[in-house]
């Protein structure tokens, strides 16, 4: 399978998981559950449409990566972009739709004259995701450097072979 075919398949899978599934999830969930979520003051549909929007960007990056050379700077930028987009999806999901809270989500609900407030602290996973994305970007840089070295070596072998052939013909 060529890189281009692989990229098209990966982009379609990314679209299915991060765009189609989030957009159709509200229809698949029981209405009671949707009502409960809405009563909690949590905008599930808003979160899912945000994920779908980021998913479109992610699918596009996945597709483009298959059509550029591994040794090009564009490939390095797309790899880093892909990691950053993944981080955005994680922060968005862990923060239940609010990226600015960085993993600390507060949900308030009025009950029988009083107020019920839930504070969910998931900062650990946001911090882990940031560390992992930093490592992924470092890995992309190392792979880019390896690909460049490999390309240079291949070019050198090619040039030497050509030179040897020309010399043999001259003899």
């Amino acid at each position: 399978m060529s890189r281009k075919t692989g990229a098209v398949i990966s982009a379609v899978i990314t679209l299915a998981i991060f765009v189609v599934l989030p957009l159709y999830l509200p229809d698949l969930l029981p209405p009671d559950m949707m009502l409960m979520v809405s009563n909690m003051g949590f905008d599930l549909e808003g979160l899912l449409s945000q994920i779908a929007t980021i998913g479109v960007v992610m699918a596009l990056i996945t597709l483009l990566k298959g059509f550029v050379e591994r040794t090009s700077v564009a490939y390095l930028i797309l790899s880093a972009g892909s990691s950053i987009v993944t981080l955005m999806i994680i922060i968005q999901s862990v923060g239940l739709g609010d990226m600015q809270n960085m993993g600390v989500t507060t949900i308030s609900l009025e009950v029988e004259g009083g107020v019920n407030t839930a504070v969910i602290d998931m900062r650990l996973f946001v911090q882990l995701a940031i560390a992992l994305v930093a490592l992924q970007i470092l890995q992309s840089i190392l792979e880019f450097r390896d690909a460049r070295v490999e390309e240079g070596r291949r070019q050198l072998v090619h040039d030497s072979t050509m030179r040897a052939t020309v010399e043999n013909r001259a003899d």
Partner: protein, 154 residues
């Protein structure tokens, strides 16, 4: 092995560990909180001794940890005024190992005269019930605070 390949392996291990930790932490906290919300695992009652004029709010819970991670539960009761200043408060906590069930009780003596005086002045007084679940060495937590007005404002 190339450094990029080695780094790729480290990233994969860290990703798997993060997903596993997230799943286990959420499972433990959801299990205990659902367990306390569904059954009569959490009881709050108020007792008033007419003769002495003393009032006590008692909270009793019987949480069970059905998750795979140990979990700390902290329960706090407090009486607060309009500005969230505490007139009285008390708290207790316990640690639950996976599969463990323990009893948790807390009694808070209410400053009845102070509450009545404030209510007479038209100020609002609230009963605050705070439930906190912590796991993964306290790095992940869920806090639930219920604020209920005591009596009616004049």
């Amino acid at each position: 092995m190339k450094p990029s390949k080695a780094l790729g392996a480290v990233i994969l291990v860290l990703q798997l560990a993060s997903v596993l930790a997230f799943g286990l932490a959420v499972h433990a906290m959801v299990d205990v909180s659902m367990n306390m919300a569904q059954s009569e695992a959490l009881v709050i009652e108020m007792e008033m001794d007419e003769a002495s004029g003393q009032a006590v709010v008692r909270t009793a819970a019987n949480p069970r940890n059905g998750g795979l991670l140990g979990l700390d539960i902290e329960i706090s009761l407090g009486i607060t005024d309009d500005d969230d200043n505490f007139l009285a408060s008390d708290s207790t906590q316990l640690h639950l190992e996976p599969g463990e069930e323990k009893a948790l009780t807390l009694a808070l003596q209410l400053p009845v005269w102070e509450i009545q005086e404030r209510m007479f002045r038209g100020e609002e007084v609230f009963l605050d019930l705070e439930l906190k679940f912590r796991t993964l060495y306290d790095l992940v937590s869920v806090k639930n605070v219920m604020k209920l007005p005591l009596g009616e404002q004049r």
